[in-house]
Amino acid sequence: MNKEWPIWEIFIRSKNGLEHRHCGSLHAADEDMAIQNARDVYTRRQEGVSIWVVESKHITASNPEKNGEMFEPAADKVYRHPTFYELPDEIKHM
């Protein structure tokens, strides 16, 4: 037997009330081992209260070469921000 274990992406929730955040990746034979290893590698100093593991191949990523058409359309839509609207200074709570 000589097969390479798949790569897993690891997400950690640092405390309840916060979201899981990507913190890195590791190799493991299966999901249980991925969680065990993630515990040992990424939470040795109480960095987390919950772990998600996802096999890397299940993640679909956007193509950075298409970042222009993907993300630039938002650049000229200043009217989506509150500061676009001009109101008199005396208006409060808005």
Partner: protein, 317 residues
């Protein structure tokens, strides 16, 4: 075609110049990719091999307090190796290949680990000096241009500061102990000082890759700048211990605002790099043994995972 390649490289350089990070899927010059695979994997190998000289002392640590600290430090180093291997893998090399490069002796790792750790005081000197030198390099690398490498470095630096403190504490205890204990600490400093100075690599004028590395912001300071920083911060620490740094040319230079120091034995440096250090052979042998002896564990884990997957498949069928 020629023009297009040029413009891609120019765009790439512009991104670097404007302080942007490069991420795994971004276009990058082949040489940038290769340089990173080499540098990150050497760094990872250094963490992994770095466990060996310290692992040597876990069972002989003088107290439980020292033992748990050393054990935790060695465990961190395994983790650091893993962060770095993961960063290297984002550039398209597999873990298997990385492992093979280390175990076959084709890959380099930091020469410092080819020196032997012969007394308990060496655990102090290694933590204080070797980790101290590594931290200087690693803090710089938290700002390196390749995102996955920089992020691994941030995590490593956070964990690393206890390593140096535990080493210095060992030295402090020895220096406050008996004459014989203090002599042990001095002996360790004598043996580890120059190899630690060599950790920053050749002098700038003998380091042909520095210019390109600076341009790509792989490094933000030169070898000599980092070495000077190490000397300046370590000399006062040695004074607090009451130990003497084994360099008769070491002295404060008021004009420069830095310590002047003596000449490094570059013949020794290159000799160890070429594989003739005291421990080169032993380190590789131990690495290979650990890998071979761990095979049944890896195989068992794979077999167990396959069996579990089969069971799950049956359940859902």
């Amino acid at each position: 075609m020629e023009n297009k390649t040029l413009s891609l490289e120019e765009q790439f350089q512009n991104r670097i110049d404007s302080g942007e990070n490069i991420e795994a899927k971004d276009w990058m010059p082949e040489k940038y990719r290769k340089t990173h695979i080499r540098q990150i994997s050497q760094h990872a190998h250094s963490e992994v091999v770095g466990m060996l000289p310290e692992g040597n002392w876990i069972s002989r640590a003088p107290s439980l307090r020292r033992k748990v600290a050393l054990l935790a430090k060695v465990q961190d180093e395994a983790g650091h190796g893993l962060y770095l291997y993961s960063a290297a893998e984002t550039l398209g090399i597999s873990r298997e290949e990385l492992n093979e490069q280390l175990n076959s002796g084709r890959a380099k790792y930091s020469s410092i680990f080819n020196y032997p750790t012969i007394s308990w005081a060496d655990m102090g000197a290694v933590g204080w000096l070797v980790d101290g030198a590594a931290i200087i390099n690693q803090v710089m690398l938290t700002k390196t241009s390749y995102g996955p490498y920089a992020r691994a470095m941030v995590r490593i630096c956070k964990e690393e500061s206890f390593h140096q403190r535990q080493g210095y504490e060992i030295m402090l205890s020895l220096c406050n102990g008996t004459e014989a204990q203090k002599a042990m600490a001095q002996d360790a400093l004598n043996r580890w000082w120059w190899p630690s100075m060599m950790m920053f690599g050749p002098r700038d004028e003998d380091s042909p890759n520095t210019e390109q590395s600076m341009k790509w912001k792989i490094k933000k300071k030169t070898n000599d700048e980092l070495r000077q920083q190490f000397v300046d911060q370590t000399v006062p620490q040695a004074e607090i211990l009451g130990l003497t740094i084994p360099d008769k040319d070491l002295k404060w230079n008021e004009e420069r605002g830095h310590y002047d120091f003596g000449t490094i034995d570059w013949d020794e440096f290159w000799d160890v790099v070429k594989g003739n250090g005291l421990m080169n052979e032993k380190r590789l042998k131990d690495r290979n043994e650990a890998w071979d002896e761990g095979k049944w564990v890896r195989d068992a884990a794979s077999a167990y995972a396959d069996k579990q997957a089969e069971k799950r498949a049956k359940k859902t069928a």
